[in-house]
């Protein structure tokens, strides 16, 4: 027996090593269907230990190389290659001015939205705190779309934090080490994010395909979806805040696995293969971050009057357009005329108001027969009409029944504007 092991020791060692690794793989992989398996999302203690060792061995050297490269390129870019900087600075200043004006114009809408959200009990969460991190390494495999950043548990990072760039979302933190973290990119097949198409408002799940392209799955075929439509985060996955840029629709194809479903390939807004610096969203709150509030205040102070003037001008333009439209449309009630001379009662009116024809066999459902009387002589009575209380919008203040000859005073609420009875809000009897 001893001679067997001595003679075939090479093969025995090979088989032992292979067997140990196969058993290790069997522990990590979970079966999800006929012939299909998936990797357990959470690493076991043994696997985590191996990853920790590998990271501790490789990451410091990688960070050192990366920092050396940054230092060299920084020296070149910050001290030597400074041509056209003045022109760029002027262009950027103009862009800042334009963006400040846009921010000042939009802030009222945002505040109104927040007030409405508070009324409906819905609280949208905004990015409150981010942490900038440098990307210093990758997995080294084209089958694994993960990368490493130079911030870790010691900087307050945790699993499942969103990682973004100013261009769009990038991924989420998958594993955290003491001084670094592993980020799973959105183009990896094991990733997932809730997204929504901007125009059609169709929701789906974003994940990567085996070719490393982000795609949206779980969508029923819809011919409204066109290439070029923007894709945003939907906010339902508890990782990415709502409304962040994801990319745009590149192409739409049939889902080969499910009839009636389509797969949308997305061109990511962030340059996933050229990432240098990313932002990790460490905190989301239902309010703007202090930095954003300061920016908004600055924009309002600098561009507030200008934005208000633009807003007033827009309202005036709308009113003017409405007046022009009103001149071209026929009216049934003229507030300047007495009640008996209203165009409503003009026999020459080409579209007179007509009562519905009498029922041939009236019953208790016939208008005007709500009390149960089924007399054929009874004239049909319109349903009671209510007028809104002007002091308390949304509260019904009074109820009245219109006469056969509606008077202008009855039809007009306290605002003095003439309203056709049919235009008034109704309450179900």
């Amino acid at each position: 027996m001893e001679s067997f092991f001595v003679r075939y020791r090479n093969l025995v060692v090979l088989l032992a090593v292979l067997l140990a690794q196969i058993i290790g793989l069997a522990v990590q992989v979970r079966r999800i269907g006929e012939g299909r398996s998936t990797l357990d999302p959470g690493d076991g203690p043994g696997v985590r230990l191996i990853r920790l060792w590998a990271n501790a061995l490789v990451s410091p050297a990688e960070q050192a190389i990366h920092n050396s490269k940054l230092g060299a390129s920084g020296l070149w870019q910050n001290y030597i290659d400074l041509r056209h900087v003045r022109e760029q600075n002027q262009d950027l200043q103009k862009t800042i001015d334009r963006l400040r004006l846009e921010q000042a114009s939009l802030i009222e809408d945002a505040r109104q939205g927040q007030r409405l959200e508070a009324l409906t009990g819905f609280q949208e969460k905004y990015i409150y705190k981010t942490l900038a991190a440098q990307v210093f390494g990758s997995s080294g495999s084209d089958q694994s779309h993960v990368f490493y950043i130079d911030k870790g548990a010691s900087d307050g990072l945790d699993r499942d934090m969103a990682v973004i760039t100013p261009d769009g979302i990038v991924g989420k933190v998958r594993d955290v080490f003491p001084h670094s973290a592993q980020v799973l990119a959105i183009n990896d097949p094991t990733s997932g994010a809730g997204v929504i198409l901007e125009t059609t408002r169709i929701r789906g799940i974003l994940r990567g395909n085996t070719a490393g392209e982000p795609e949206i799955v779980g969508i029923l075929a819809d011919n409204r979806i066109q290439a070029g439509e923007k894709v945003l985060t939907a906010g339902g996955d508890q990782i990415f805040p709502r409304g962040l840029q994801v990319g745009k629709v590149e192409r739409v194809g049939r889902d080969p696995l499910r009839d009636g479903f389509i797969i949308i390939t997305v061109e990511a807004a962030a340059h996933l293969d050229r990432l240098d610096e990313v932002l990790v969203v460490t905190s989301t709150e239902p309010r703007f971050a202090p930095v954003d509030q300061q920016e908004i205040a600055t924009s309002e102070a600098l561009k507030g009057p200008e934005a208000a003037a633009i807003h007033d001008q827009q309202i005036k333009d709308q009113q003017k357009a409405a007046a022009v439209m009103a001149e071209h449309l026929p009216g049934l009630i003229d507030p300047n005329l007495p009640a008996d001379q209203q165009p409503l009662h003009d026999s020459s009116n080409p579209n007179p108001v007509t009562n519905p024809p009498k029922a041939l066999h009236p019953d208790r459902f016939t208008p005007g027969a709500a009390d149960g009387s089924t007399g054929t002589d009874a004239a049909p009575q319109p349903a009671p009409i209510t007028t809104p209380d002007n002091k308390h919008p949304g509260k019904i203040s009074s109820t009245f029944k219109p006469d056969a000859k509606p008077s202008a005073s009855a039809a007009a609420p306290a605002t003095g504007k003439a309203v056709h009875p049919s235009a008034a809000p109704r309450r179900n009897p």
Binding site: L25, T38, V58, A61, F136, N209, A211
Partner: protein, 173 residues
């Protein structure tokens, strides 16, 4: 055919290196393999840990050492990804064992033989990786023969540059 004869095999020397080389060269290969794809993007058609595994397996001519070297390099590569630990490990274990077994039988001092070996073993490692992922684990895998061929050519090109450099590090009597 002298290079393939059994008599010649006995005369083949076993290369020896300083201990530091055994530690540093694999580490540098792992670090560069993780760092360079960020610079080269999808054109990173090489596998430095495999090149180093094959080099040491051929030089040491010990299948056991080749097996252990390949397994440890592969496991570290797997640990840096988010995939199951062991897929690359198995692929490189097989490559290391085969390289050392071939190194015992033929003269690997010949540069052309070395290049041919690294090319073939790259393809063997790729096929093993695909086999383990698809059939053993039942997971999806994007597979392109063209990419794997480019990777094998890339490994050969790197071997042309690095093997002579590494040869200089060996201990000579």
């Amino acid at each position: 055919m002298a290079v393939l004869s059994a008599g010649f095999r006995r005369d083949l020397e076993i290369r020896r290196y300083p201990s530091l080389v055994y530690g540093l060269v694999p580490l540098v290969a792992l670090v560069l393999q993780a760092w360079l794809p960020r610079i080269l993007g999808r054109f990173a058609w090489f596998d430095l840990p495999l090149v180093v595994t094959v080099y040491f397996a051929l030089g040491r001519r010990s299948p056991i050492q080749g097996t252990l070297m390949g397994a440890s390099m592969g496991l570290f590569e797997d640990a840096l990804s988010h995939h199951a630990i062991g897929v690359n490990g198995i692929a490189k274990t097989v490559a290391g064992f085969l390289a050392a077994s071939v190194g015992v039988r033929i003269d690997v001092e010949n540069f052309t033989v070395r290049l041919l070996l690294i090319f073939l073993l790259s393809l063997v490692a790729s096929v093993t990786y695909a086999f383990v992922t698809r059939f053993l684990l039942g997971m999806e895998l994007e597979w392109s023969w063209l990419t794997e061929l480019f990777k094998a050519f890339g490994n050969s090109a790197i071997a042309i540059l690095t093997f002579p450099l590494l040869d200089r590090l060996q201990i000579r009597d």
